[in-house]
Symmetry: C2
Subunit: 308 residues, 2 copies
């Protein structure tokens, strides 16, 4: 037991159950296994038997439990690492089996929907601390995780009003040990900030890849062929394809669960793109130059804040 | 003289005049100076005295000639490396001073407009070989250039009908020696391909940076603050800022000079974004997932073609 080893800090949790083992879940499991101070024991479950076979082969779980209800028994922390669209069903299935005093947390990219879908289903004596680690790559699945994924990255916590401060602090400590910088944020504000910095950029990247793909399949000789799009992608298009390679189910659920903020940001962007189109059509050089100039300022800000 | 050194291949040109010394022009000059087989002599001119002072300090030109007309005297190749919006005025100024048999080429990102603006102004005995090296970084100016910029990158040549094949071949050979892969393309097709792989992605990246900047300056407490946009940019937004940091004057001219193809591609993209917005609003999960799935396929194609 870690408690008997004086050099080892006490684990934050005794038993951490991870529901879902994609990029994020499998990274948390790998970190927990490597450091041993996140949780004394890591239990893993997943709705896919094939994924659990892969988890067994990769060997980053202390215990694999295919049965969702049984996976949360005895856990003092349960972390939802599935697409946010699956949360309500998961919460309903695990609620009767949660230990009194257990903490339920998650890693989803939307927070208002998570509080709406999960909060009402949890027993009164269970703590609920929604979280969102701002980390990811364009890869997904249990093979994609790695132990440095959260290093130096933000993790945003959005505890609903009345959440026990001790529960929030335990989740914060887990993420700090995983390498993250932690910030507590209002869930509505979280969803609006993420809509502009993450969800809208993903929607745009997915869309332009689709637009290019449609052009390439039209087959008219005047259009870009698929091989030309691929050959000449380095001129700008390529930067959009990295984030457009992200997991379709996860992002579908993000879009559907941050609908209002996303549609508002998309409407703002569309107005701005149409204003740019009008300036191009009517040759308004000063307007175009001014709008382009803003990109440089933001990039400079990123370089200064060392986020570039 | 290179001719007297048997180990040195004969230079493609005797005197190469570069009009404009930004990222591309200064890279060509540096390569020519390092290899000595692009041109025996590199003459540089620029409309900015400050830039020419900087070129003198950097020392990559054999000769600096502030007077545009005089800079092309005796040159067997003149390369326009200025923003495409300046081409017509440059062509008018240099036309009376070009040597019979000289080749005029360029590095602009649009090709139909270049042929329209420059072609009619050139004397009959001058060859015109428009070119577009597909290479760049988000940096600009004479300090930004480097000798490996064109290594392994495409250079597209769009010679108008009737161009002497020998002239096209000389320009192709210069770019091959600079490290490029060369392809000859119809100028209309060039402008449409570049509109989707390069010009539209840049317009979108500039626009979303502007949208985010506007949100941050609105000051309403519910919006993302500028520091939040910068802090959390790694979640997607950051990928757009690199290309959005590109040179405003150059890109303003690209947009204005590829108006028709760019507006058509933007219209297609906008339709697709609106279809995605509608699917988000009405919860059409299958549509969203299908469109997102396309991004992965294109990314996979890039990885397979080693362009990622």
């Amino acid at each position: 037991m870690p408690e008997s080893e004086p050099a080892q800090p006490r684990p934050v949790f005794q038993r951490l159950t991870l529901i879902g083992t994609g990029l994020i879940g499998s990274s948390v499991a790998r970190i927990a296994r490597e450091r041993r101070d996140l949780a004394a024991e890591v239990v893993v479950t997943d709705s896919s038997a094939a994924v659990l076979d892969r988890v067994a082969a990769l060997g980053f779980a202390d215990r694999i439990e295919p049965d969702l209800a049984r996976s949360v028994a005895g856990a003092d922390c349960v972390m939802l690492c599935a697409p946010v669209g699956a949360y309500a069903a998961i919460a309903a299935a695990i609620a009767p089996h949660l230990e009194p005093g257990a903490i339920v947390t998650d890693v989803g990219s939307t927070k208002v929907s998570v509080i709406r879908d999960v909060g009402p289903l949890l027993p009164r004596r269970v703590h609920f601390v929604p979280a969102h680690p701002l980390a990811g790559t364009e890869y997904s699945g249990p093979d994609a995780g790695f132990t440095t994924l959260f290093q130096g990255r933000w993790c945003l916590l959005t505890p609903p009003d009345g959440t026990a401060p001790g529960a929030t602090e335990q989740v914060a400590e887990l993420w700090r040990r995983a390498g993250s910088m932690v910030e507590v944020m209002d869930p509505v504000h979280h969803d609006r900030v993420l809509a502009i910095v993450s969800h809208l950029p993903h929607l745009i990247a997915f869309t332009i890849c689709g637009t290019a793909d449609d052009l390439a399949t039209e087959g008219a000789s005047i259009e870009a062929t698929r091989s030309e799009v691929l050959k000449f992608a380095a001129t700008g298009f390529r930067d959009f394809t990295r984030i457009a390679a992200s997991d379709p189910v996860m992002w579908r659920d993000v879009f559907l669960n941050n609908k209002d903020a996303l549609l508002e940001m998309l409407a703002r962007f569309t107005e701005d793109a149409q204003a740019m189109a009008r300036a191009v059509r009517w040759g308004d050089a000063a307007y175009i130059e001014d709008r382009i100039g803003r990109g440089r300022k933001i990039r400079q800000g990123l370089i200064e804040s060392k986020q570039a």
